[in-house]
Symmetry: C2
């Protein structure tokens, strides 16, 4: 199950940024599961990774390599996360980097490895290394759609977003792909996301742009509250458009970048494991970001709210109970208003006088549902996106390994 | 579904503490849904209530009444939580107290009201008040089993625990009942629990005993991480045994009391909505209680760990990922050991060398499963109890109101 449109968007190429996809038959014979991405010389790159303390071997290696050299290739395998694999995992990940270095005439420090799939199994290194030259031979500026497919695991559809816009009379392109469907509560990043632009941005500004866009997109989604061991988002700026991003046009660029990030992040939620609803949770009138997020996540991660959503049941008492257990000091429940889409369902600590069950039922029939909680105690607003909790989620995760 | 034995235990009467149960047909015609409990004169009583900020009207009223008078009756209705009902809810709850006062010749401040059931519906006050005399007429020291049935909602079985032991050559009795199956992550209390003893304890010591026993039992269980609006646990000491509890024998009494509390709390988890496994999560070698609980709850509330449990799949990578996202500073993952029952599954940040999938599968077949996480960084241990996440949980909560 999934929500929204299945259509993969038209992807604008980013000059010089090439993607090659092949099948190494890591888990399923013949399935696209190995993706190589080439970063043109002169680009800048920034990345954020999972904050999970059991971070995967490729995350450890990618972080080290980023400090040691300018990256020239990204290698992604699916079917095996190379997480919970200890020292052997690190060594296996380095072997894959070396295979790319051999195939492309670069140094292995210039390769950033990424893995996604089952945790705790040894990485099939030889299988992957043997397939690297085939991925290299596929490298193309038009390789986005194949790559978007090649990085999927339990996802039911490829996820991409692409835009072109003008800065100072020149056209700038941003294109990106991501994957993720379960174990989704990114903390600093998402499962895997790769975004490229032909703008020219120095590393400091690029990091700032990545952090800000990420904070409003991948760090604002949850499917099941479980943070992955392998999350990573990479942002590459090739500079090929000739447009330089500086303090004067940073906000303009950031708005476009954030929009792409939000599209990608939402596409993960729309394809959340077993998702039949796409749910936006808005918290308004909070005193600070922390309490806004505490309320938003309490609602978004409540199994009782999520199962009511599955049933299209306007059981607003569960929303109220979730708000009440959030970590907010001196919350005055009599000031809170709760809306389902545009229907006011609760105020003054009780059901709204104007509310009728028929209104609530109508609102809940939609696939896209917006829950707004007005705390009326400050000026801070936060939004996040989530899914319902369905039989299908349980089935997928009870059967995943078998 | 549920785990463990269905058998309701033999309940020792607590002299003078009488329970009467009747059907007011609040939600289902003819179902036992109204329970009155009489506290004999000269007793002491202590209670803890939910920390949910949207606490229900009866919780607000019961807290006020406890400060204003010695309680003489507890009134419990199921089928309606009287939560999210605003000012009307308070007034409705007071009306029920007045009905008990009229039927028993007491003051309404001496009545503590408790409600459980659906949130946000107006309490059917007249229905409840009309049935109070019938509950009063059933009052009996042998009314425990009927009362245990009369306080249930989505529970599939009645829950009780009872013990007798000697202090200073005299027999002391502790008996208690509780209910709860979903919306279970008590914070200071559980859905509803009522425990009585014939020991004599002053109020200060009684509160201390309640807090300590509660902290190791009802505050250490989670079914779905959702904290109810109506949680309450009441402990009554009648003194009829003639045994006075003081500093010299407090620990002996507390050990027995905690044992009863743990039995009751575990019975809620065993009857957790859709439960097919009973799971004990031990965190050992933590630096402090907070980090131990953070790790334990991260594992116990992970939908991915819980669905693996449903499938009897030893997918230990999900346990490791949950530990890794817990709120622990500077966690050294290389020091962590994870055991499934007595099987060492992970060490040095990876699968244990000695581990075989066959061992894991065998361990996961059992109905009762113990997950032990040894952090090896301090001396603090904490234990909590939870269930798996099954299709049945989703079905129950998607269908609850309809």
């Amino acid at each position: 199950m999934a929500t929204g449109s299945e259509k993969f968007p038209n992807m604008h190429p980013v000059e010089g940024f090439r993607l090659g996809t092949t099948s190494a038959s890591i888990k399923v014979a013949g399935r696209k599961d190995l993706v190589l991405m080439e970063i043109p010389q002169g680009s800048t790159a920034a990345a954020v990774f999972t904050q999970n303390k059991f971070c995967a071997a490729p995350v450890i290696v990618a972080k080290q390599h980023l400090q040691q050299a300018q990256p020239s290739y990204l290698l992604v395998n699916t079917g095996n996360a190379n997480a919970g694999t200890g020292e052997q995992g690190i060594s296996d990940s380095l072997s894959c980097c070396q295979a790319v270095a051999n195939a492309t005439g670069t140094d292995f420090h210039q390769i950033l490895p990424f893995s996604t799939g089952v945790i705790g199994e040894p990485l099939p290194v030889e299988t992957i290394c043997a397939a690297v030259p085939a991925a290299r031979d596929q490298l193309s500026e038009n390789g986005w759609a194949d790559a978007a497919e090649g990085i999927l695991t339990t996802d039911t559809r490829a996820k991409g977003a692409s835009t072109q816009f003008d800065i100072q009379g020149s056209t700038v392109t941003i294109s990106g792909i991501c994957k993720g469907s379960g174990m989704i509560k990114p903390n600093m990043a998402t499962m895997l996301g790769f975004v490229a632009t032909d703008a020219s941005i120095d590393e400091e500004l690029l990091h700032a742009a990545l952090r800000k866009a990420n904070g409003k997109s991948f760090n604002r989604i949850t499917v099941d509250g479980d943070t992955s061991t392998n999350d990573a988002v990479v942002l590459v700026a090739t500079g090929a458009s000739g447009v330089e991003i500086d303090e004067t046009n940073f906000d303009q660029f950031l708005t476009q970048l954030t929009d792409i990030f939000v599209q990608l992040a939402q596409s993960i939620v729309r394809d959340g494991e077993g998702a039949s609803k796409f749910v936006t949770v808005n918290v308004e009138g909070a005193d600070n970001v922390q309490e806004a997020l505490s309320v938003a996540y309490a609602v978004a991660e409540s199994p009782l709210v999520k199962t009511a959503l599955t049933a299209s049941d306007p059981n607003w008492g569960r929303i109220l109970a979730a708000v009440g257990r959030a970590d907010v000091n001196d919350l005055d429940v009599s000031k809170i208003q709760i809306l389902l889409n545009s229907v006011l369902i609760a105020e003054n600590g009780a059901r709204a006088v104007s509310y009728t069950e028929a209104q609530g039922q109508q609102a809940m029939q939609a696939e896209d549902i917006e829950i707004t909680i007005q705390l009326n105690r400050g000026q801070v607003c936060e939004t996040l996106w989530t899914t319902d909790l369905s039989y299908e989620y349980v089935r997928i995760n009870a059967e995943y390994r078998t």
